[in-house]
């Protein structure tokens, strides 16, 4: 748990969490407060005004309502896919790393093959053959996205498996499955949380990309289909920037928030990357400058993080 406490103290993580929480609140309650995003409400292609805060589309729909409604659909799918990808990646990674032998050979090979295959063209072929909808989209994203987590978690398993508590568990006769899920899994919290965040960033980005291509259900309002319609309506030609900018900024803000949290996790678990601003301030007070040969002073100022948290 100290991992989460450290995380919340980190400035980057706090900023990321605040942005993310804002979007989660918007996605949860926003759609109840705005107009119907699919309704034809006003004149087509109107710039932002007091009535339509972000203007209207060529079909006369409220862009603000569409952006809010898109937040719900896109975030839900992103987080669900992120979660499933993490679970699959963790299972395969832990199994490969802990069981070793031919299991590891086969799983690692599979992981590396899926890592090297370009995701988008494969996703396009898959999505084109499946019935458009959230379930197909989730399936496509999971199939093209699981490998990275599996690789990272396998590497972590390999190093954890050398630790004494695993040997102790083996000697005390715990079953392999129990060791995998009750000894290894909980001891990788930071890697798994960071894998989940990475997978969610991927899921949101890839989903928006595929839907932009028209491979989602274009009758649903999501961030991706908003951009699909904007591109279909030639909104760039007519200079209707308001149908494009809000959705992109939202996608970027969510992605930025998630990536910030991931950097914070990196810093919390890897003190070498931790910001040195506090240390530099102390040095400046005594009139010294930092060099590479001042590790002792540095170590004294930094709280030493506990092992294997």
């Amino acid at each position: 748990m100290t991992f989460f406490v450290d995380l919340f103290r980190n400035k980057k993580a706090s900023l990321g969490l605040i942005i993310l929480a804002t979007f989660v609140i918007i996605a949860t309650f926003g759609p109840l407060l705005v107009r119907d995003p699919t309704d034809f409400l006003g004149d087509p292609s109107q710039p932002p005004s007091a009535r339509f805060w972000l203007g209207t589309t060529l079909q006369g729909q409220d862009v603000f309502a569409q952006t809010i409604a898109g937040a719900r659909t896109s975030l839900v799918l992103g987080f669900v896919v992120g979660l499933i990808v993490t679970l699959i990646g963790a299972t395969i990674g832990i199994a490969a790393g802990f069981l070793g032998g031919w299991v590891d050979d086969v799983l690692s090979l599979l992981t590396n093959v899926f890592l090297i295959m370009p995701g988008l063209p494969l996703a396009v072929v898959l999505a084109a053959y499946l019935k458009p909808g959230p379930v197909s989209m989730a399936f496509v994203l999971i199939l093209t996205g699981w490998a990275w987590n599996a690789r990272v978690i396998r590497a972590q398993t390999l190093s954890l498996a050398q630790k004494d508590f695993i040997s102790a568990a083996i000697v005390s006769g715990e079953s392999r499955l129990r060791i995998m899920f009750f000894e290894l899994f909980p001891n990788m919290t930071s890697i798994i949380v960071s894998g989940f965040i990475g997978a969610t960033v991927y899921a949101i980005g890839a989903q928006v990309g595929l839907e932009f291509l028209g491979l989602g259900d274009v009758s649903k309002v999501t961030w991706g289909t908003n951009l699909y319609w904007a591109s279909n309506n030639q909104d760039l030609l007519t200079e209707s920037w308001w149908t494009i900018v809000p959705t992109g900024v939202c996608v970027a803000l969510v992605g930025f928030a998630l990536v910030l949290i991931n950097f914070a996790i990196d810093e919390v678990t890897n003190p070498k990357l931790r910001s040195e601003s506090g240390f530099l301030r102390v040095l400046a007070q005594v009139g010294a400058t930092a060099g590479f040969s001042t590790p002792v002073a540095k170590a004294a100022l930094e709280r030493t993080p506990e092992e294997g948290a």
């Binding site: 090979l109 590396n112 093959v113 890592l115 090297i116 295959m117 370009p118 995701g119 988008l120 063209p121 494969l122 396009v124 072929v125 898959l126 084109a128 053959y129 499946l130 019935k131 960033v201 980005g205 928006v208 990309g209 932009f212 291509l213 028209g214 491979l215 951009l227 591109s231 760039l236 030609l237 200079e239 920037w241 494009i244 900018v245 959705t247 992109g248 996608v251 970027a252 803000l253 969510v254 992605g255 930025f256 990536v259 910030l260 950097f263 990196d266 070498k272 990357l273 910001s275 040195e276 601003s277 530099l280 930092a290 060099g291 590479f292 040969s293 590790p295």
Partner: protein, 324 residues
Amino acid sequence: MRFLLRRLGFYLLAAWVSLTLNFLIPRLAPGDASSALQARFQGRLEPSALAAMKEVFGYTDAPLWQQYSSYVNNLLHGEFGVSVAYFPAPVTEVIGSALLWTLFLAGASVVISFVLGSLLGILSAWKRGGWLDSIAPPAFIFLGAFPYFWMAMLLLFTFGFVGGWFPVRHAYSDHLTIGWNAEFLLSAVHHAFLPAVSIVIASLGGWLLGMRNTMIGILAEDYITMAQAKGLSPRRVMVHYAARNALLPNITGFGMALGFVLSGSLLTEIVFSYPGQGYLLYQAVKSQDFPLMQGLFLSITAAVLAANWLVDIAYVFLDPRTRR
């Protein structure tokens, strides 16, 4: 050499997996892919040609393994079928003409963003906490969070439509013919500029952070302190001692990220109507051109695998430990 051969074996395996997936997806998908193909071509092909077409894809009544062997055989002979959208051109022809543009655009932007990102990473790790280190990483993380194609749309809108400084579509001016002359090359660079910038902006942050983080790890090594104690110039320590060693893990990452960056650049091509693989992919999706889609999947995969092998060869030159 053993290293390169082992890698080659792996890439062949990856190629086999992707062409098998390509074979299985239409057959496992709900609905009958063969009749879908037939519906697309209805009225545009003679029945005998349609039958031949179906055979090219192996959609026969033969058992699955026989379909599979004829499918592999056809692929090995370069038979990818006929495109629906660009009927009656064969898929290989359609893809071939677009492949060079993608290699040019994606290749140039990936190399530029890798070199630039690595340089910025080296500098920001070297002057840890300096102005570059406090501005560049967060700025590029933020820019990298935008979807590639969205960044492309914004640049196209600002500098293409509103500013009018750059062409808004295609790879070269319509009244020029392809050739090795200054006018054509200039036009090609002019057209590729905005799409390349959008790919570079969106992907640079990744290289920057990767390089910065490995550099920080390496700067704490004893041999760096030793080099400084010897009184070597800071520049020499930075370039020859730290950056060279930090580059290795980043090059491995480079190979792996290629597929990802390429995927993004495909979407960028669509925004700019750039006549590469991505634009074709869009056309294929719009007109439900399954043969073209599948051909593109295979050709893009092949390009990524080949690029990865080139990275491996570069790695052998850079890391003597692999030369055993």
